[in-house]
Symmetry: C2
Subunit: 406 residues, 2 copies
Amino acid sequence: MISVEQHLRRILDTVQQLPAFEVGVVEAQGCVLAEDVAARVQLPGFTNSAMDGYAVHAADVGGATEQSPAVLPVVNDIAAGNTQALSLAPGQSMRIMTGAPMPRGADAVVPVELTDGGLARVAVREEVRVGQHVREAGDDVRSGDVVLKAGTYLGPPQVALLAAVGSARVRVVPKPRVVVISTGDELVEPGRVPGFGQVVDSNSLMVAAAVRAVGAEPFRVGGVPDDAAALREALEGQLVRADAIITTGGVSMGAYDTVKEVLSRVGTMQFDKVAMRPGMPQGFGTLGEDRVPVFTLPGNPVSALVSFHVFVAPALRAMAGRPGAPWPPASAQAVAAEGWRSVPGKTEFTRVTSDGGRVRPAGGQGSHMLGSLSAADALAVVPPEVTEVRPGDALATLPLLGVDAP
Amino acid sequence: MISVEQHLRRILDTVQQLPAFEVGVVEAQGCVLAEDVAARVQLPGFTNSAMDGYAVHAADVGGATEQSPAVLPVVNDIAAGNTQALSLAPGQSMRIMTGAPMPRGADAVVPVELTDGGLARVAVREEVRVGQHVREAGDDVRSGDVVLKAGTYLGPPQVALLAAVGSARVRVVPKPRVVVISTGDELVEPGRVPGFGQVVDSNSLMVAAAVRAVGAEPFRVGGVPDDAAALREALEGQLVRADAIITTGGVSMGAYDTVKEVLSRVGTMQFDKVAMRPGMPQGFGTLGEDRVPVFTLPGNPVSALVSFHVFVAPALRAMAGRPGAPWPPASAQAVAAEGWRSVPGKTEFTRVTSDGGRVRPAGGQGSHMLGSLSAADALAVVPPEVTEVRPGDALATLPLLGVDAP
């Protein structure tokens, strides 16, 4: 029996960040940048107006007031998108729109609200400082500056920044492509009515959904029967497109545990009992020339989802170049609203519902109980030495992936 | 000038939950259920073994110990997926795998670890209680039970549960399809080098990415010039596929503010100054027979993204049937690590970086500053009456959508 920490460490020591790949910035959303990106242009690209108003020489409107406005001729009209290089002589003004290029010579903008809005002549009712309402070229980003470093996660602002500084394509760590296979003669496809002794293959749907929720790309192969040749064929066929493979089922003590039978003799696969509940039988290793990581999760749905959160999600994040949460999680995130017993000598993952940081078990805790799993929003992590959680105890929690957050 | 609360209230009073739509459970991930779902089958569907071991009559192994094992003939072998209805006579046993159907008559399972693992005869070294290691049919979900209620957000466990109880297709509130249009003569497509007076259309990329980050489906139309006919045509062409439309730019005080010009006379559109910084000029209303909500955001990138978080994201969540975060957010989420000034009379959204709940401004706060926006992970909400944030002040924050979280 090994500890959760030992199994996780072996996994994280084995998986590697995926090779970088060039994509368009739209596809880069949700990926991690694999290179430092330097600005090819400055931002703003040209000195421009921060307001709708009038470009002026500030000196020409010095001392202007409501009672004694400064009146200037309006000699031009500059819209955003105007690509002419204009010049403003002293004593004159030009009407200018937000984002439009400042004419050479002008050193301030009078917002339209501080004027009479005139078209041929404008009366300015308030003075402006030199530089006021003007965005200097390069005041946000200078050309050549590294704007985003390798390792940066690309969310909406970063995608926009890359486009703005001229990097319409960038090298990123791609999202892992994850093949999901469930095993078992008892499985029938969703939509079919299971006969006596059969169950709907809901595991592969759940694991594929969890893969998507952690930001990777699932390929659901679905149910493979308990047949060594069929499983071997499915695995070999999927290796080409997989950055990782997840199986569920077939890793226990049973006589027909095909996953264990097929994989225990290949690659670096290793099967262990991990001191956790649920989720004790775990397997992990790599397959094929490309050393594709393979996670063999237990077949009980709750065991499979707990194992995914504890072992697979951190591995997929590491493969994607994303930072992982520390293990074990900080122990002060939640407070037990009621007490419950926990098994000695194993890390117990109690399915809980949270209400403002107070957690309580979400119904039946059997490892086959999908109904009560669906009522939970987090896993409370009860350490091996704790046999009883008391009301008020501080607990570490793992939020369930893909749960809605406002 | 209206308050943030007033503008948000008008939006949330106008938008409606989208009509329900039937989809397969795989596509249902990330949607809200539009109907109560009752189980068509019980879970487990049949009484089955929780362990790999031997199905027995508990009475037959009563008092068994290491020293004095109970020895039973093994008359059959039951794998998971066995669809035969078997019966176990007293005094006999059957080898059984996890998830395999219990034979009639058997009332307990002896785990293989407590036996000699025999194939013809098995020596049982420990007694078991009636019902031990047996999962009774229906102990998780009874047939006819409502397993998920209308309004439930569908994450990985819920998708699996729907499939398991026989609901391979369900009625959900679909993800809003959101058309994103940016406006301005100055815009060039990402990948093109902007000339003098031009800028890359990064806004539509950013807003489309934010739409995706909030769980809706973006359609990026991109830049439309400041031309009333072109904008009208773009809007009319997109109405058919849009559950909502977002525009950026063209809503300020300028002479060429085409969005305002085209939309101020149609539908229920209304343009307001909202007491916030950045993001003062806002427009909202509905267009067309289907009363498609239209959000006209300001064109400065920081203003657009702040407006998206404050007004559009809550509306898209409401349209998707998902609960919204309260406004204003709870004021004790973060602590200012340093002080900064805030404009009086307006809600200020300071772009901040968070470090363990301590926030500080993320560089330049100009509304055009995409570079410093990209360094931020949250918006600190500084209320209108606050003109100075002091170190140690408690602050409400809005996390930026699409930022990575471990």
